[in-house]
């Protein structure tokens, strides 16, 4: 479908193209960008389903297509946002870099293997195209404020805990927007250890990964990572206990029918503790609140007026305008490797326990 905007329209705003127009694009990024219309305009939406692409594009008066090449060939697309299924991420990030775009925002995980991640880093370095991974909590103003509060905690923390309790995604997608073409839901059958292992992998790469880059701030090394516990929480969720770099890491999640979300990260050391309470995904509910306690004194930061998704886009605008640094590719790769090592360890743990 041809662009609905005049091709000679001059805009100082940054043009954004979306690869994939599912719930993440509809319920997260388009609402976020609607709050940043002074910085961005959505110029192109691609989806393999032409009707979905056209319908979503029409909401923002953008062009639509069913082909990545068409989107990458569109000169009005300056930043590519990759919101497709995980398995397509790496190839699409590389293609966007090679197309000479100004920046790439890729939903987490940005690759599903260390090899893919290394290839992405290589292409990013070769082309100079900055990559931002959509780990929104890392861009949340509440988290960024925590970094300024936490003193020596990254060096002294011995226990890191992330707990997530959420209603199914659809609940918050519906609070954020009206979603079309939502994937079918349902819960796994846990009688098969392979299903358990696959569920845990999905848990790490689909949910825990939001916070693993944050966890890694307190875990200096993870070559010695051990999975001491890896179990599913019904109907969907997980509980992990990890040891890495001398730290203990507890990750738990329960997605159930509750109406009350709770998303908390805590890092504790001998003299201080940090608690960051995040708002749920999808809704524009402002930032996390960070509480840092030492010696019985608690300092609180937040809430601030925007969440991590908006923070991602603000960062991208800064990168494109040259006022902010792009994330270092090596750190992104290590974040991903941390997730993949956890997945591998969890799988081995589950399958060994089943024998």
């Amino acid at each position: 479908m041809p662009p609905t905007k005049r091709s000679d329209e001059i805009s100082s705003r940054i043009g954004v193209g979306f690869l994939g127009a599912g719930p993440v694009t509809q319920a997260i990024h388009l609402p976020s960008l609607s709050r940043l219309t002074d910085l961005f305009e959505v110029t192109h939406v691609m989806d393999v389903d032409a009707d979905v692409a056209a319908a979503v594009a029409s909401r923002v008066d953008a062009a639509s297509s069913t082909s990545m090449d068409q989107l990458l060939g569109d000169p009005r697309v300056e930043v590519v946002a990759i919101c497709s299924p995980h398995k397509f991420h790496a190839a699409q990030v590389i293609a966007a870099c090679r197309a000479g775009k100004k920046a790439v925002l890729c939903e987490k995980p940005f690759a599903v293997s260390a090899e893919e991640a290394a290839e992405i880093a290589s292409v990013s370095a070769e082309t100079g195209v900055p990559i931002v991974v959509g780990a929104m909590h890392a861009f949340d103003p509440g988290w960024l404020a925590a970094e300024k509060l936490w003193e020596t905690l990254p060096e002294t923390a011995h226990t890191i805990r992330v707990s997530v309790v959420l209603p199914p995604n659809a609940r918050f997608e519906d609070f954020a927007t009206e979603v079309i073409a939502r994937p079918a839901g349902g819960w796994p059958d846990y009688s098969d250890p392979e299903v358990i292992a696959a569920t845990l992998e999905g848990g790490v790469l689909g949910l825990a990964i939001h916070d693993l880059p944050l966890v890694r701030r307190f875990v200096p090394t993870f070559d010695d990572l051990q999975v001491l516990r890896a179990e599913v929480v019904r109907p969907w969720g997980y509980v992990f206990l990890l040891r890495a770099g001398g730290r203990t890491i507890e990750l738990s999640a329960s997605v159930n029918a509750t109406w009350k979300p709770d998303w908390t990260l805590e890092a504790t050391g001998p003299d201080s503790t940090l608690r960051v309470t995040f708002t749920p995904s999808y809704v524009q509910a402002g930032s996390a609140v960070a509480e840092f306690t030492a010696g019985g004194l608690t300092k609180v930061a937040g809430p601030f007026d925007h969440n991590g998704y908006e923070g991602e886009w603000r960062r991208i605008a800064g990168i494109v305008h040259g006022t902010e640094e792009a994330p270092e590719a090596g750190a992104l790769i290590e974040d991903l490797r941390f997730a993949l090592v956890t997945v591998d360890g969890a799988r081995a743990h589950v399958l060994e326990a089943a024998v």
Binding site: E250, N256, S272
Partner: protein, 266 residues
């Protein structure tokens, strides 16, 4: 005793901090002075079972054991003695947890996950506090499988179990975390298919109430807050036992908790 001086005597020197409790129950308790105490205060350090037996054998009407360590032969205590032995736990005896325990009986069938976390000062001997955690978990979560130790070092102790009697596996996580950042506290959660219960129990040094919340499809409810320390509750129970108005089953519960704990306690 007149109605204004109906009290039982206590040796306030036998357990640190007991004077405060006696002062808070002046119609029920009084310092024993030079006379043998009617209510025995027993420190829970090793040998507490023998000391309890001796106190009751020596005429004490009831004995309050503070944070007992693991011991063998608990069930060998005569029933009459066992029914007059009250265990005072720093956290599990908090009145808010009793409220939580009553509230969760209807939630356990739909439980999906449970966790309990105790934060204690650094240098705490984790063996000394694990039984408190297990008793609290047992009261709120219900029956559990034997607890496995996953990792232990000076910074913390992490353990795992399952809730028994559920249609499907319900993991339980236990954490004891050493930090001086803030006063000791116990937190626990029982998550269900559509909500659950959470409790935050403050340091036993304060009468600040535990905060217990139940979340369900209709909303969230803060259970009534009770401004009483674990110790005061325990001594009120001792008074009731001494008066023949109640019997204690605490030692049986303790023996059950010891049987769940990892062998050798780490």
């Amino acid at each position: 005793m007149s109605t204004l001086t109906k009290h039982y005597t206590v040796d306030t020197h036998s357990v640190p901090g007991l004077s405060e409790t006696v002062a808070s129950l002046p119609l029920s308790l009084a310092p024993a002075g030079q006379e043998p105490a009617q209510l025995a205060a027993i420190a829970g350090t090793p040998g507490w079972l023998e000391r309890t037996r001796e106190a009751l054998d020596g005429g004490a009407l009831a004995a309050v054991v503070s944070s007992p360590s693991a011991a063998d032969g608990i069930l060998s205590l005569p029933t009459d003695f066992a029914q007059r032995a009250i265990v005072e736990w720093s956290f599990a005896s908090n009145p808010g947890l009793q409220t939580a325990a009553e509230a969760t009986s209807s939630l356990r069938e739909t439980a999906v996950f449970a966790d309990i976390e105790l934060r204690v000062p650094t240098e705490t001997n984790f063996d000394d506090v694990l039984l408190d955690v297990l008793i609290a978990a047992g009261r709120v979560f219900g029956s559990m499988s034997p607890v496995r130790s996953l990792h232990r070092d000076k910074a913390g102790w992490h353990l795992a179990s399952w809730l028994r009697g559920q249609a499907s596996d319900v993991p339980v996580s236990f954490s004891i975390i050493a930090t001086d950042a803030a006063p000791a506290t116990l937190r626990l959660r029982l998550l269900t298919q559509d909500g659950g219960l959470s409790a935050s129990v403050p340091s036993p040094a304060t009468a600040e109430p535990a905060e217990v919340r139940i979340t369900g499809p209709d909303g969230e409810r803060l259970l009534p807050t009770l401004w009483e320390t674990s110790r005061r509750v325990s001594w009120r129970r001792a008074v009731a036992v001494a008066a023949g108005e109640a019997v204690s089953d605490d030692l049986s519960e303790l023996d059950g908790a010891i049987s769940l704990a990892p062998k050798g306690m780490g």
